[in-house]
């Protein structure tokens, strides 16, 4: 049947959702690439174009010749059963274990899927008090375990040494320090909450009384030091998002890369979704002040872009309005517009005393934290929306300045670096620090999993164990004692931080475990004993059954921190604030540089993780590198284009970095994501991006003012995914304010064409359980499941956890920077990011007028809204892709899936062509078999490894294979792939039900018992999946919401995935409130 899709005409009067300013302004550069779904041949680089037909024939000829060598005989394969049976092991069935990922300052509770001893996939631990979805860093950390470029052997001054030698060196250092009762020994640790780690550090202090401890994290802040003075020693604020109905965030990306200690994000998003008319106070409201767009800014109801230098002024203004005048001098420097913005916002906070909270980002300066403590005190947040918890005492630690002083003072002989930061890369003025270490003859013992610059230049480098390889423990943000248990024996005999401390204490030998003498039981691992000892202390005795329950659940019940008996010390806060100097607004001549942790590699520790590198940055959609984010106004003033290099001079340093236009970014401010620009770390992370750390001179210096910018001529081709797979803007994203919703709860269903079309009737709806002449067997639809999904845009924060979870579950390959540039990204879920403005042009014309008149003003671009929409295969009931497949490789199943039979696919790509959602991905190369990240030279031609086909280098990194999910086909070249609602999970759930029921009748999978990988990972609980034929399932409840709408409904594809329109809750008294989340019947 030929289908004529009558697309609506581009409305001339409509609200605009756009992906880049180039699109909004219809720039030539955008129009050129519009509509090229597979810009394959179009985008050959000059070298590739030269290596044309002749080379192709050469290579193909050779490969045809080689083909004959393959034997026709059936290869003999063997089955190797275990010799000794392994406990819990049922071949073919995964075992789930609870564990915890230690993070700086907290922990992520996890459940690990282990297939025959290989951890393959991570998900949140639902039993844990802080359990729920997990972020992309935690999700991707399983890949780090199998990273082939991980540090595998101890190094001595950059050269491989044996474990015996490494042990000897450590023992010698310890013996040396012992003689002088520890003088000369220094240990640098990262932010940790591990009781065993802290206990062992205490024991080090006992064994070596003169030894010194230092705390250092690359992206740390002053928050802890301030809390100690203002709130008291060991007092930790714990934010209860379930109670916080008004939140004001000061440069605090608590939904993104700057989490605060508090309840999981899902508690925040719970208050964002409304299904029936609701009062303004029933929905929470988020105010955000920041210099660049963050995920938190995107979720905000009110957001103002201000220079980072003005954040202290903003904090002081808020405090002033609440009666704390200590920051008067700071507040005076605030511009009028900021004052006008803050006044009604603070009014709203005061009106909601007890449920209002102000949050400061971890990188904010000390005075901001002090002011925020005083503000929260005035708002009555402590005790209601913020709990003050009493942490366990920690050993005293010096900061980086103390470390620097001690090294230059010649007081250190041996420095053991246990921090996940890389001192010679990310420390302030790292080069000088490295030189100092050498000059003063300090012997650096580095423990880490990457072969970064610190590892290569340290006197001794010890490969660190991954957290899935070693015993450990950690306290979660609320203090719950959580266990870190090994899932696999160390692949490269790495040592955990605890192991190294035990080695210093002389209780453990690092490296491979010694084989016990014949018949003897293997000696108990000292790391394990240490954790058990700590457990005994925490649990009040080593009760085996308690220990086993802790291992099963992943945490010890009832071990959270007690509430602290603390109050805000106003005098101490005042002293801190009075020391602060007012920051100046940046100007054209003195630009401000803001250093932020990146969404891809955080502070640089995930640099070698290909999933994270390839997951597009949620804001800029940039992959594989960093770029300087420049606000649209400054971007235009400098006459830049995306990828053009700029030289930034500040603090006496100059860096060259490609620039990228960032709508929503404040003018005269440049944001540089940190963590990139590390060399030699491996094929994934090496030579990617630019190091931003060189710009800072002090550990807490994340805002550098007075920078000069020079535009350079060269333009880098950035691997940005934002302009790929365009959707032509057909009311794809729908949002409104709570007010709009209260006026008409079904506004989303009347947007765009949807008000003019008849209702789409599901093929399956009404069929369920119906017995008639057409369907004589009757039971057919009773027993068949009908899968469906609902994505709540009110809850979706736009992080990329679902993308990475999908990649991990479904064996999706990484394609590399070059291929991303060509639009060949393989991720099944695409996180669409749109900006929107309600009014444009110098005339400030409202949305309902002609749109092409003039370009947006800098203010409009600065205040553009940002929204995210995850989009994967929609599982259309009337799928356009199925009708065009010549080989029936994509067909419908009777449970409503749009199935892919990979082994049938011949790669015509007709289906992708016909998919209105561009949800299909094509394997242009053998991404799984050939390493796409390296260059190869064959027959005198040098090109990307992929282009050599069968002659190309096979992946050497066999270890990556261990991560693969055995229940999902690893697709090869020439095969189309896409989301199938994790069909392997659905099938196993159905089979499990059959196993249980056997000769009985109830084959319906228990309600909501099967979850897709994206749903499981979503920290915001935005994705709901389930059986539409099961009336009780939560997906039916979600889809009954009046906010429910289908993307491109008018073309009649009847998608099984539907979206719930987003709601925002603007405050009418705020300036510009009328422009926020304006719903428009038409959209463009």
């Amino acid at each position: 049947m030929k289908r004529n899709w009558i697309h609506p005409e581009e409305p001339q009067n409509a609200k605009r959702y756009w992906r880049s300013t180039a699109e909004l302004e219809r720039r030539e550069s955008f129009l050129k690439n519009l509509g090229r779904e597979f810009p394959a041949g179009d985008t050959l680089t000059p070298e590739e174009a030269e290596n044309g037909r002749r080379d192709f024939l050469k290579i193909m000829g050779a490969s045809v010749g080689l083909m004959g060598l393959a034997s026709c005989r059936r290869p003999i394969t063997t089955i190797l059963p275990y010799t000794q049976h392994v406990e819990w092991m049922v071949p073919g069935k995964p075992v789930l274990f609870a564990t915890t990922m230690p993070r700086c300052g907290g922990a992520t509770p996890l459940v690990v899927t282990v297939h025959e001893g290989r951890p393959t996939h991570l998900s949140g631990n639902p039993l844990h008090p802080l359990g729920g979805g997990i972020d992309s860093f935690a999700q991707a950390s399983v890949l780090d375990l199998y990273d082939p470029d991980r540090s595998q052997k101890p190094l001595g001054a950059g050269k491989a040494i044996s474990w015996a030698k490494a042990n000897e060196l450590i023992a010698a250092a310890a013996a040396d320090a012992k003689k002088s009762s520890g003088a000369g020994l220094g240990i640098v640790v990262g932010a940790t909450t591990s009781p065993t780690y802290l206990r062992l550090l205490g024991e080090i202090k006992t064994a070596f009384p003169q030894a010194k401890l230092y705390g250092y994290e690359a992206v740390g802040g002053d928050a802890q030091a301030v809390n100690k003075e203002v709130l008291g020693a060991g007092v930790k604020p714990f934010v209860k998002f379930s109670k916080a109905m008004r939140i004001l965030a000061l440069d605090c990306d608590f939904l993104g890369v700057d989490p605060v200690a508090g309840e999981p994000i899902k508690e925040f998003t719970k208050h964002r979704a409304k299904e029936t008319k609701a009062a303004e106070n029933d929905m929470n409201r988020l105010y955000v002040l920041e210099n660049r767009y963050t995920l938190t800014g995107g979720m905000a109801d009110h957001r103002k872009a201000i220079p980072a230098a003005l954040i202290p002024a903003a904090a002081a203004l808020i405090a002033e309005q609440l009666g704390d005048a200590s920051g008067k001098a700071l507040a005076a420097s605030a511009p009028q517009a900021l004052k006008d913005w803050i006044a009604p916002a603070v009014r709203d906070l005061i009106d909601n005393k007890g449920t209002a909270v102000v949050l400061a980002g971890s990188r904010c300066s000390a005075e901001v934290h002090a002011l925020v403590a005083s503000i929260n005190n005035a708002l009555g947040a402590y005790g209601s929306a913020i709990d003050l918890l009493q942490e366990a005492p920690k050993p005293d630690m010096g900061d980086f300045a103390a470390l620097q002083a001690d090294v230059s003072g010649g007081q250190l002989k041996t420095l053991v670096s246990l921090t996940p930061a890389s001192l010679f890369y990310d420390a302030p003025d790292a080069a000088a620090f490295a030189k100092l270490i050498t000059e003063k003859g300090v012997k650096l013992v580095h423990v880490g999993s990457l072969l970064n610059s610190t590892a290569l230049h340290a006197a001794v480098h010890i490969p660190a164990a991954h957290y899935l390889e070693a015993w450990g423990d950690v306290r979660a943000a609320d203090g719950s004692y959580s266990i870190v248990q090994p899932m696999i024996a160390p692949l490269y005999d790495g040592a955990s931080e605890n192991d190294v401390l035990l080695a210093l204490l002389g209780r453990k030998k690092l490296g491979p475990a010694e084989k016990p003498a014949d018949g003897a039981a293997p000696a108990e691992d000292a790391g394990y004993t240490a954790v058990r000892d700590t457990f005994a202390q925490v649990a009040g005795g080593l009760d085996e059954s308690k220990w086993n329950f802790t291992l099963r659940d992943g945490f010890l019940k009832g071990s959270a921190y007690a509430r602290a008996n603390a109050s805000v010390n106003a005098a101490a806060a005042g002293t801190i604030v009075s020391k602060a100097k007012a920051g100046a607004s940046p100007s054209d001549e003195a630009i401000e540089v803001v250093l932020v942790p990146s969404s891809g590699v955080y502070d640089g520790r995930y640099i070698n993780n290909a999933w994270l590198q390839e997951a597009p940055d949620p804001i800029t959609k940039l992959t594989w590198e960093n770029a300087a984010w420049v606000g649209s106004a400054t971007f235009k003033r400098l006459g830049l284009e995306d990828g053009q290099h700029i030289a930034i001079r500040a603090n006496g340093v100059e860096i060259e970095i490609p620039a990228i236009e960032a709508p929503g970014h404040v003018s005269n401010s440049i944001t540089i994501p940190l963590g990139y620009g590390q060399n030699n770390v491996g094929t994934v992370g090496g030579e990617k991006g630019v190091n931003g750390y060189v710009m800072r001179r002090l550990p807490g210096q994340f805002v550098i003012s007075g920078a000069k910018v020079e535009v350079l001529g060269t333009v880098a081709e950035l691997a940005i995914t934002q302009t790929q797979n365009t959707m032509e803007g057909r009311a794809v994203y729908r949002e409104g304010t709570l007010e709009t919703f209260n006026k008409d709860t079904e506004f989303a269903q009347k947007t765009g064409m949807d008000s003019h079309i008849p209702e789409n009737i599901s093929f399956y709806k009404g069929q369920v359980g119906k017995k008639d002449t057409e369907n004589p067997d009757g039971f057919d639809y009773e027993t068949k499941h009908q899968w469906g999904m609902s994505i709540d845009l009110s809850k979706c924060i736009g992080c990329t956890a679902c993308i990475v979870a999908c990649q991990s579950e479904n064996n999706i390959p990484v394609v590399g920077k070059n291929q991303v540039r060509k639009g060949r990204l393989m991720q099944w879920i695409r996180m669409d990011r749109y900006f929107a403005v309600a009014k444009t042009g110098i005339n400030n014309v409202a949305q309902e007028s002609t749109w092409a008149e003039d370009n947006p003003t800098p203010e409009q671009l600065e205040n553009a809204e940002m929204v995210h929409q995850p989009l994967a295969c929609q599982q259309c009931e009337a799928a356009p892709c199925e009708t065009v497949c010549p080989v029936n490789a994509t067909v419908h199943t009777d449970d409503g899936l749009n199935a892919m039979a990979y082994n049938r696919c011949i790669g015509t790509r007709y289906c992708a062509n016909n998919c209105p959602y561009t949800a299909r991905r094509f394997n242009w190369f053998d991404y799984n078999k050939r390493n796409p990240l390296v260059e190869t030279e064959k027959l005198g031609i040098k090109a990307n490894n992929l282009y050599f086909g069968p002659l190309g280098e096979k992946r050497e990194d066999e270890s990556i294979r261990l991560q693969r999910n055995p229940n999902v086909t690893v697709r090869m070249r020439g095969v189309m792939e896409k989301c199938t609602y994790c069909v392997q999970r659905l099938e196993s759930a159905k089979i499990l039900q059959k196993q249980v029921q056997r000769d009985s009748k109830n084959f319906r999978v228990p309600t909501d018992s099967v979850k897709t990988a994206c749903q499981q990972s979503c920290p915001a609980d935005a994705i709901v999946f389930g059986d539409l034929a099961d009336a009780k399932s939560s997906v039916n409840i979600a889809k009954a919401s009046p906010r429910n709408y289908q993307v491109l409904k008018y073309i009649g594809t009847r998608p099984r995935t539907s979206y719930l329109a987003r709601l925002r809750n603007p405050n009418k008294n705020m300036p510009g409130a009328e422009n926020i989340a304006v719903w428009s019947n038409n959209q463009y």
């Binding site: 069935k93 990979y902 069909v983 089979i991 059959k994």
Partner: protein, 268 residues
């Protein structure tokens, strides 16, 4: 003009045509037979590193399949036993049965070194086929349906083609292979071994209405109120002995056996 072509060439096109027809026929018959798993797989009988005899263990001794292949009911894979399993009977200090036999040399060695015995794979589903044992053996499909009478094989041989068409044959008509669950691993099972009254009693005990059972036996309109009536009806329809069709159709209907024919059932 002379005759360029000799006389015999007049028949050449016809001869060539006939030859082509025969060759084409031959090739297609050849491909249809020799290129299928029926030829390429059935009969594959590799020598195993340990001369383990299924005939002795499963046949003569009557060991249940699940004693060694212990997880077939719980997992997608039916596991090859660990060395420990062999040792439970043959190990010194354990069962000690023929512990010194030279045939067990490899087993002894594996026990000492921890190196697995490299059993040669006989039945190999392609990588993109996700066959699940538990879904079959829990639902009335016996081991024998796919693996043949292993209890009579000295060395295991590939008994059934196990091609996609063969799988689908059964998925479309499962009644040919269904049997009561307590006979799943009974490789010598014949439907005629069943006592008719016991079989129907079993169904009635599962609370299947006797009317529905009767309709499966006798078609629409057939009636039977109690067990005796059912047995009589079945005897009339199927004869004195219980037949596969009789068992299969009942189980298919009352266990709701609806083998999936979706691609995703086996390919993911």
């Amino acid at each position: 003009m002379g005759n360029f072509f000799p006389r015999w060439t007049n028949w050449l096109p016809l001869k060539v045509g006939i030859a082509v027809v025969f060759i084409a026929l031959g090739v297609s018959i050849g491909v249809a037979y020799y290129f299928t798993p029926k030829y390429t797989r059935v009969g594959y009988e590799p020598t195993q590193p340990v001369p383990f005899s299924h005939k002795i263990h499963a046949g003569q001794l009557g060991l249940d399949c699940r004693i060694c292949h212990s997880f077939g009911e719980a997992s997608g894979h039916s596991n090859v036993p660990t060395n420990q399993t062999c040792f439970n009977c043959h190990g010194q200090g354990k069962g000690g049965i023929r512990a010194a036999s030279p045939k067990l040399e490899l087993v002894q060695k594996a026990h000492q070194t921890g190196q697995s015995i490299p059993w040669v794979k006989v039945h190999k589903a392609p990588d993109y086929v996700y066959f699940n044992h538990s879904a079959h053996v829990n639902r009335g499909v016996s081991c024998v349906s796919c693996h043949g009478k292993v209890n009579e094989m000295e060395v295991v041989r590939h008994d059934q083609p196990q091609s996609m068409g063969w799988c689908l044959d059964c998925h479309r008509n499962p009644e040919k292979n269904l049997r009561p669950l307590d006979h799943i691993t009974n490789l010598n099972f014949k439907p005629s071994d069943l006592k008719r009254a016991d079989f129907y009693k079993g169904l009635l005990d599962k609370k299947v209405p006797s009317g529905e059972i009767a309709e499966v036996i006798g078609g629409k309109g057939a009636k039977a109120d109690d067990l005796d009536a059912l047995v009589n009806l079945a005897e009339k329809t199927f004869g004195k002995e219980v037949t596969q069709k009789e068992v299969g159709t009942q189980l298919k209907k009352h266990w709701q056996i609806q083998p999936p024919e979706n691609c995703t059932a086996c390919h993911r």
